[in-house]
Subunit: 250 residues, 2 copies
C-alpha cells in the first residue's frame, strides 16, 4: 500500500469547500471519486486526506493531500491518470511517493495564504470569482503600520468565526505583508503561520480594511488580541479573494 | 435623444456570444435589458449596437457599443446606473456622449484582439475559461518567422469559417505579434487590423500553432492566402483564449 502525497490546485468557485459532504460538490468528494476510480474501486473505499479544509469559494494553488493506493503506480502516472479523470476545475500539480506515516494535515508545519482584493469602483467581470472587492478609499500606510501587530504567537479568539472548533485559539503568524499593485487596481495580502482558525484570514483582512479606511485605530489589532471577543470583528472579507498558496512540511 | 458611446468588458464564458438571440443569454441581450430599464422601458425599445459580434465564450476588455436615451443623463450617471443594473459578468468601463451620427460598428477603423494560450501539460483550473490550451512542443522562432506573412492587405478566404457572410474576404492586418511568457507557461498573440472575418483570428492561431509544431512549413500562410480555400485550415483555436481588446475610431 504505497502512500502518495499530491499538490493540488483548484478554482474554488464551483465547490462547497474542500471537505466531503453529502449531496453537494466538494473538492475532497471529487478527489475521492477519481482516486477510487484509478484504484478500480476497491471494496474498502480509499479516503483522500487534505491538509486544509478550505471554505466554499476559497481557491487553492497548493493544497496538499495524501492517499494510499492498493498497488504500486509510478508517481508521474498517478498524476497523469488523476488529471485525466478529474474535472477541469481541479488539477494535480505534483505527486510523490512518501513514507507510510506521512499525514498531509498533522505533519504540516507552515501554511501560506494570500488574499487578492480588487479596488476598482465596479466589480471587474474577470475578478468577480477570483478576488474580493473593496471600493472605498484605503490608506495603505495605515495598513502597513498595523500588519506587524499580527506577527508572533497570540490568542486569535477575536479572529475566529463561530464555527471554529479547535481546542486552542493560539496561533503563530510569521508573515503578514501587503503588496500594492496600483496599475492593476489590486492589493494582495500575504499571511504565513503554523495554522489558522476558521475564517481567521478573512476576518484579519476585514479588520485591516477597516483600519485602512480609518474606521478602526491603527493598532486596534493589539486590542482585539487582548479582548478575545469574536463579536468585535464582524466584517469577514469575501471567500473569492482567498487562496491557499503553499504548505510546507519538515 | 442624446447618443451614448460606452466601452464594455465582459467574461464571455457565460454568454452565447454578443449578438442578441431568442432564448439564450447574450451580452447584447443583457445590455438591451438594462438600457431599457434605465430609460423606464419606452414604448419603442432602445437597441444597443455593438462594434463586434464576439462568439460564444469569447471575452472582451474593450467592446464598444452605442445607444440613444430618451432624456439627458450625464455620462457618469449612465455608467453608474448601468453597472448597478448589469449582471456581474458585464462591466461598463467608460461612457461618453457622442454625435448623433456615431455608429460603433460602421465607424470603427481598427480593432485589436489578443489570444492567450496556456502551454501547461494539463489545463490550469484558473485558465480553463480564460485561455486556450496547447501542450505540444512549439518552436516559437518558427511562429515568429511566420507572423509577418499575415501583415498587409490580403484575401483571407482560407481563414474564414463557413458562417462568414461578408461580401469580401479582403482584410488588412497591421500587427501580428507573439509574446512568450515562459514563467507563466503562456503565449499571447496580438493582432490588429481594420476588421476580421468570422473566426479569422482563431483560425490564424490554429495555423500558427501548426507552423510551431512543424506540421506546416514556416511560410504556409503565403500559400493559404493564395489558394483561398477554407478547407485547408481546419484547426480553429478554442474561443476561451480570445479577447477583444480595443477598438479605435477616427
Amino acid at each position: 500500500m504505497p502512500r502518495y502525497k499530491a499538490i493540488v490546485s483548484y478554482d474554488g468557485s464551483g465547490f462547497f469547500g474542500f471537505q466531503v459532504q453529502n449531496d453537494v460538490r466538494t473538492v475532497q468528494g471529487e478527489l475521492n471519486k477519481v482516486v477510487n476510480q484509478m484504484a478500480k474501486n476497491p471494496a474498502t473505499p480509499i479516503r483522500v486526506i487534505g491538509a486544509s479544509r478550505t471554505d466554499t469559494g476559497v481557491h487553492a494553488l497548493g493544497q496538499v493531500i495524501n492517499f494510499d493506493l492498493p498497488f504500486n503506480i509510478p508517481a508521474a502516472s498517478v498524476r497523469k491518470g488523476l488529471n485525466t479523470l478529474l474535472p477541469r476545475d481541479i488539477m494535480i500539480r505534483e505527486v510523490e511517493i512518501v513514507n507510510d506515516d506521512f499525514h498531509a494535515r498533522f505533519n504540516s508545519h507552515h501554511k501560506r495564504y494570500f488574499y487578492r482584493l480588487s479596488t476598482q469602483d465596479f466589480v471587474d467581470p474577470f475578478k468577480r470569482k477570483y478576488a474580493g472587492h473593496f471600493h472605498w478609499p484605503l490608506d495603505i500606510q495605515r495598513i502597513e503600520k498595523a500588519l506587524p501587530d499580527l506577527l508572533g504567537e497570540h490568542d486569535f479568539a477575536s479572529f475566529a468565526a463561530s464555527g471554529n472548533q479547535t481546542q486552542t485559539t493560539i496561533r503563530r503568524i510569521t508573515r503578514a505583508d501587503i503588496i500594492n499593485k496600483p496599475d492593476e487596481q489590486e492589493i494582495v495580502f500575504i499571511f504565513e503561520g503554523n495554522a489558522f482558525l476558521y475564517n481567521q484570514i478573512r476576518i484579519m483582512v476585514g479588520v485591516l480594511l477597516e483600519i485602512g479606511t480609518g474606521k478602526r485605530p491603527v493598532h486596534d489589532i493589539q486590542r482585539l488580541i487582548e479582548v478575545k471577543d469574536r463579536s468585535q470583528a464582524r466584517f469577514t472579507a469575501a471567500a473569492a479573494g482567498l487562496y491557499l498558496d503553499e504548505i510546507s512540511y519538515s
